[in-house]
Symmetry: C2
Subunit: 201 residues, 2 copies
């Protein structure tokens, strides 16, 4: 009779990387730049907003493009089953407006993430980060109001959330992250992740 909250990463876990998809679909190579190329997140975001405005891409147009992005194969069925078993949230470092089209395809689950400010012309002009470090702080807040968390994600920013949870997995992560974190079990299929979650509930 635990009060569980399943905390899922979005990009790389149930959906593809949204900036990468946007770069691919629009053909704007500059949008492929990530924190690996520019470790200063503020600088990277300013660069991205400038590129979008330079290419006259408004939020409406970005959302039209992102409406073409599909959840990973089997992700919707996996999520439907998890939501039938436990309260479930996405905890992500994406932005609410970017995630919305794929959230609609996933059946409107809730997402705890960041948010863009859009100016009167419809361009992204600023952004608001929800909290830092976002995933561990979110898990601690969920614990503070009575939940035990169960978590999965693919990347460095998921490690804290996974380690603070009563059960957690790296999911479709890189060989480097798996090698550096041998204490965290690594899974590759939704079938195995669902079995793990069922076991932890």
């Amino acid at each position: 009779m635990n009060l569980n909250m399943v905390c899922l990463d979005l990009e790389g876990t149930l959906a593809p990387e949204l900036w990468v998809e946007l770069a691919r679909a629009t053909g704007i190579k500059e949008l492929e730049r990530t924190t690996r190329d520019e470790p200063d997140f503020g600088k990277l975001m300013r660069y991205r907003m400038d590129i979008l405005q330079h290419n006259k891409l408004t939020m409406d147009e970005i959302q039209s493009v992102l409406r073409q992005v599909e959840p990973m194969d089997g992700a919707k069925e996996f999520l439907d089953e998890v939501r039938s078993l436990s309260q479930t949230i996405f905890v992500s470092d994406t932005f609410e407006q970017f995630a919305k089209p794929v959230m609609e395809k996933l059946g409107m689950p809730i997402i705890f993430c960041n948010r863009f400010k859009v100016d009167d012309q419809g361009y992204i002009s600023d952004y608001r980060i929800r909290c830092t470090p976002s995933k561990p702080v979110t898990v601690m807040a969920l614990r503070a109001c009575g939940f035990e968390t169960i978590a999965a994600g693919d990347s460095y920013n998921d490690l804290g959330m996974i380690r603070l949870s009563k059960a957690g997995w790296l999911f479709r992560s890189t060989e480097a992250i798996k090698a550096e974190n041998p204490d965290i079990p690594a899974l590759e299929t939704y079938e195995d992740l669902l079995a793990g979650i069922k076991d932890a509930l």
Copy 2:
């Protein structure tokens, strides 16, 4: 560009009172007993569990009965629109298994509430309260991970959540509660509540 979380009460606000509906549908008058009759919540819950077991009502059977409960008129349409505008949660003192049938009818929104323990025979044998006082603690946890809350509810246990939020309303409350809390605006229709929420976002 605020990071908003709309926090809605369930029973009395978007759905009828589930214990009352269960009493009505099963004809078990004893289940109409509430905290107004027995202020000791632990005693009331023990009484309710005994009545359910005495009447041989398992959780499966209870959920079958509760599947007949419909959201209030217009509640689903209201909720769909709120969810399209903002991340939204139910914050309720009901139990996850009781709420599930009506959550399915409402499009599987998330609910932060309590949970029953079900024994091997399928009977409710115990329960777990998520946190106390549940609604104010939940709002504080949401604030701790970066959200500004907007809240609505009909009853005494909603007052703290409403007062801790940047905007909030009593919704379809009693004359007594409205009279005792003149600082909180009181609304009666989903149209007005939606307008208020849009204004606060």
